[in-house]
């Protein structure tokens, strides 16, 4: 091939292993998504305002009417807010991917000799960073409205670690949903359909004890409750039971299922 033969040394592709490129390409895409965050400030602002409103709503409107067994409600609430905020980050992931699909960028990426997982890892990692920022803002707001965590260093590390893992694993669910349904608007609506029951039929805002039997059975055994209970226990320096391991297992299980699933969907996804 004449064009290839005259290619100067510097213009030749680097030769590395597949695994190396999975990381390197993923990092190129993550950087691409990260530099965009401050360029679309609206997105970050809305991603922050919504949970702030939830904090204020639950703290001042519903809080007085919700009994959490002697605990101060704001202390009870904040773990729920953190988890909800991070979980809803999955929708952001899905919307971003759906937009890449719509704009034909996924087509371009799929025609390049890059790693097949990079578009997805790049996006989920960038959304992880975004979530760290949003959670920090939430923490600040929480402290302002009376949240008083009692965790030590280990407690904080555990809680933050679990939140990051939750963010990362739920982002892959969001990516899978986007690859399955494609359109930006549909991804947005679908996000609310699967995330609302998970976050509200949980211990995020109320104790599950007062729920009707069936709902309580669901609430007590679904991942959000397990994660919220763990984060709450860690932040308030209460003993954490088996829910800690269960929460961890859920996140890892989600990754185990949704990473390969979304990568295989990505391989044959079509823009139109």
């Amino acid at each position: 091939m004449s064009a290839a033969n005259v290619r100067p040394e510097e213009a030749r592709p680097l030769q590395r292993s597949r695994l190396y490129w999975a990381f390197a390409d993923g990092w190129v895409l993550a950087k691409r998504n990260l530099v965009q965050i401050p360029r679309i400030p609206e997105l970050l602002v809305f991603a922050t305002i919504q949970p702030v409103m939830f904090v204020l709503l639950f703290r001042y409107v519903f809080g007085g009417a919700i009994d959490v067994g002697g605990e101060s409600y704001v202390n009870y609430l904040m773990a729920g807010i953190f988890v909800q905020t991070v979980a809803f980050g999955a929708v952001t992931t899905g919307i971003g991917l759906a937009e890449d699909l719509k704009r034909g960028l996924v087509d371009r990426f799929r025609s390049l000799p890059m790693s097949r997982s990079a578009v997805l890892t790049g996006r989920t990692i960038a959304d992880l960073v975004r979530n760290v920022f949003v959670v920090l803002v939430m923490l600040l707001v929480g402290l302002l409205v009376g949240f008083r965590p009692e965790a030590g260093v280990a407690g904080w590390a555990g809680a933050v670690g679990l939140l990051l893992l939750l963010s990362f694993s739920f982002s892959w669910i969001g990516a899978t949903v986007a690859l399955l349904i494609g359109s930006v608007e549909a991804v947005q609506s679908a996000g609310f359909i699967w995330l609302f029951p998970l976050t509200f039929a949980s211990s995020a805002f109320v104790q599950t004890d007062n729920m009707p039997d069936i709902l309580r059975a669901f609430a007590n055994n679904q991942p959000i409750t397990l994660i919220v209970d763990t984060v709450r226990g860690l932040l308030l320096d209460r003993p954490v039971g088996p829910e800690g391991w269960q929460a961890l297992a859920w996140c890892l299980g989600i990754l185990l299922v949704f990473v390969p699933l979304s990568v295989s969907l990505y391989r044959r996804v079509s823009a139109r």
């Binding site: 091939m1 004449s2 290619r7 030749r12 680097l14 490129w21 190129v28 691409r32 704009r103």
Partner: protein, 335 residues
């Protein structure tokens, strides 16, 4: 790559979307270092064919190979040998032009330093240097298109696919694009480009494949295709309705193939057209005849065949609009 093997080869490609048959047995062969123009109306299946050849879409049936690599089984390997610019600009709105190109370079696994250098070269080449540090969302449609084309050249791949590369470009950018494509080809790049314009195919392509309803209905050099259409068309518009028949009869004498040889009249537009051969000399004698017959003419001209003419000749119907499958304007054969 094996000697004598076409750089791009498609055999019996089929693809359906639900009940829509986008490709119905498409065959193509493009020799290394040559340019094939895929010419066809909206919905003919051009983009579908390009998507299959660039590994984005798997065919339902048939097979295709590019540089000897199967587009389905050896897709991963193939991607490092091709460049694609799709029909719709695929550039990132929230990156600058330079960042877009650098990113593509990195994803072709070129070094950081070279990716940057190449980005600058291409920005310059595509007249985007001034806009290189601006976010793409501030670009005009034509600028995006140029950036999109630049992106497919970052690695100067041996095989390039361009889906309607000049649609939406102004005449100057189109010329510049043609020039760049010409250079690439003289550098040995094999190119498959789709277009709806015969003049573009004419100018750029060594061979042209006319695609309609998912298959190739004619293939050859531009001259061969034009010969099928039957050379030039002479078109005239008369001032008075009553002169229409006289003018048509005068044209019949000059029409290629004699009376009825592709003479068409359009009563509403007072228009008569015929396929002719003979250039300017013929034009003079037509004018003389019309003058002798006392026909007043508003407009008269010779024009080279268009896609529409190729289509009329090849399929007996106008190229557009394809949905209705009928000519858009009312023309009928003269009695």
């Amino acid at each position: 790559m094996a000697e004598g093997r076409p750089a791009i080869l498609a055999e019996g490609l089929e693809k359906s979307y639900g009940t829509t048959r986008a490709l119905a047995g498409l065959d193509l062969a493009v020799e290394e270092g040559t340019v094939l123009g895929l010419l066809g109306p909206n919905g003919a299946g051009k983009t579908t064919a390009v998507r299959i050849l660039t590994t984005l879409l798997a065919p339902d049936a048939g097979r295709a190979e590019v540089t000897g690599l199967d587009v389905v089984r050896q897709a991963d390997e193939l991607r490092s040998k091709i460049g694609l610019t799709g029909q719709y600009a695929a550039v990132d709105e929230y990156l600058t032009g330079r960042e877009n190109l650098e990113m593509v370079g990195r994803l072709y696994h070129l070094s950081k330093k070279y990716s940057r250098k190449r980005a600058d070269e291409l920005l310059e080449r595509f007249d985007l240097t001034g806009a290189g540090s601006r976010l793409v969302k501030t670009y005009s449609g034509g600028m995006r298109r140029r950036l999109d084309l630049a992106a497919s050249l970052v690695y100067s791949p041996p095989i390039l696919f361009l889906d309607e590369p000049t649609t939406g470009l102004d005449p100057r950018s189109r010329l510049a694009m043609w020039e760049i494509i010409g250079e690439l080809v003289s550098g040995g790049t094999t190119l498959l480009l789709t277009t709806q314009y015969l003049d573009e195919a004419d100018r750029l392509a060594d061979r042209i494949a006319v695609v309609d309803t998912g298959r190739v209905i004619a293939e050859g050099t531009a001259d061969e295709l034009k010969a099928k259409v039957g050379g030039e068309r002479l078109e005239l518009v008369v001032s008075e309705d009553s002169d229409l028949r006289t003018a048509a009869r005068a044209l019949e004498r000059h029409a290629k193939g004699g009376a009825g040889g592709g003479v068409r009249t359009d009563v509403d537009r007072r228009h008569v057209g015929a396929t002719v051969e003979g250039g300017a000399r013929l034009l003079v004698s037509v004018v003389r005849d019309l003058d002798a017959a006392g026909v007043q003419v508003d407009d008269l001209g010779l024009h080279r065949p268009t896609l529409d003419d190729v289509f009329l000749a090849l399929t007996g119907r106008a190229a557009e609009p394809s949905e209705e499958g009928l000519p858009g304007h009312q023309e009928k054969e003269t009695a």
